[in-house]
Amino acid sequence: MTERDTALWWARIRSGGPQRVSAGGPTPAGLRRLVEADAQAVWLIPDLPDSAGPAVLTEYGVPGTSMLDSRGTLRVLAACLRCCWPDPAADLWPGRPAPTGDIGQVLRRLVPARNAVSRQQLLAAGLRRLAASGWILLEGTDTMRMGPRVASFGSLELSTLRELWRLIPDTAPDRPETS
């Protein structure tokens, strides 16, 4: 693959998020291949060194892209991580699919002060925002799994996430009978 083609792939990912391609194709330089569970397709994401990644922004006190209702959306992401990452010792990608009902159950324990309507709104809006930016993938109307972007977490961020994972409540104690 030429330098020009590689630059085009980087630009496609920069503008359109992680790209899903067939498993047989070549890998442009500097990108990582994330194989789907069925091995039929791969996602391409940038493989940046930590020293050139978003973590540098905090070192220099430069603001990054901010997210609308970031506190709420991050709680939804936390609930997704709890449901889709059964074993935090393993890799986060690809994880396992989870019903959005389970995400709602965990979210209920993460934001106990919200009423059912406001929580449902938070869940729907949060899932939509996270899906739009590639952090999660929605499958049908009531199932989701982690998106390819989660594989871009560095080792330092992953160890923080593992610590957090243990603090996030599980769905188990009051799992609804219908699912």
């Binding site: 630059a7 980087w10 940046l48 060194p49 973590a55 609308l68």
Partner: protein, 217 residues
């Protein structure tokens, strides 16, 4: 977790550690920062070798340096890459989002610019477009327009401003500062063609494009 990135290795491999660290930090600040970065935070720009390596790193990843003003710089899509992607039909934004973005650019940039309330090459407008401006005379259904506004704001193409003495609304976001001079010129032309297709300026743009195309053949 992180394996060496071949592009970074090739471009920065021969730099001393400290210099490499500064170039990588500059790449991170330019690429991941929300807006333009002050030169003070980018010592890599002061040294010719580092600057050349930084530009090469950006070029290899489809990007280029964009000087916003004498003190601030950012990064944007390389013109050649942008043109090739656009020519191949690459379009990550849904139709409704593009329509709404154009409406905001017309209300917040094209109109004030034509009244000389906004500098000729500035996309940083303080004239908000209200939600009503977008839904009133447009063909975008209100529900879709609202969803498009929230997506465009999330990705930094728009920014919300709170109502003070006037109504609050939407203005062009920090992403617009990443446009290269050539991209800004093209967007300006497109805006004229969209907002005033019968104006003599629009005829001049069409004429210029036609002759450029003719020149290429």
């Amino acid at each position: 977790m992180n394996r060496p990135n071949p592009i970074f290795e090739e471009v920065l491999g021969r730099l001393p550690d400290r210099q490499r660290e500064l170039v990588e930090a500059a790449y991170a600040l330019l690429e991941h920062g929300n807006g333009p970065v002050h030169r003070q935070l980018l010592p890599a720009l002061r040294d010719a070798t580092s600057r050349e390596r930084l530009e090469e790193l950006l070029r290899r990843t489809g990007r280029t340096l964009v000087e916003v003003d004498p003190l601030h710089v950012t990064s944007g899509f390389d013109d050649a890459v942008r043109i090739e992607l656009a020519d191949s039909g690459w379009q990550p934004l849904p139709l409704a989002d593009r329509a709404v973005l154009v409406l905001v650019l017309v209300h917040s940039v094209a109109v004030p610019r034509s009244e000389e309330r906004l500098a000729p090459d500035s996309w940083d407008s303080q004239f908000p477009t209200t939600q009503l401006d977008i839904t009133r005379h447009s063909k975008v259904p209100p529900g879709e327009a609202r969803a498009a506004l929230s997506r465009l704001t999330a990705c930094g193409l728009l920014r919300t401003v709170r109502g003070g003495d006037q109504d609050g609304g939407y203005v062009p976001g920090p992403r617009l500062s990443r446009l290269t001079p050539a991209a800004r010129e093209q967007l300006q032309d497109q805006l004229i063609l969209a907002a005033a297709p019968d104006h003599p300026l629009a005829a001049a743009i069409r004429e210029r494009r036609h002759s450029r195309l003719g020149g290429q053949r």
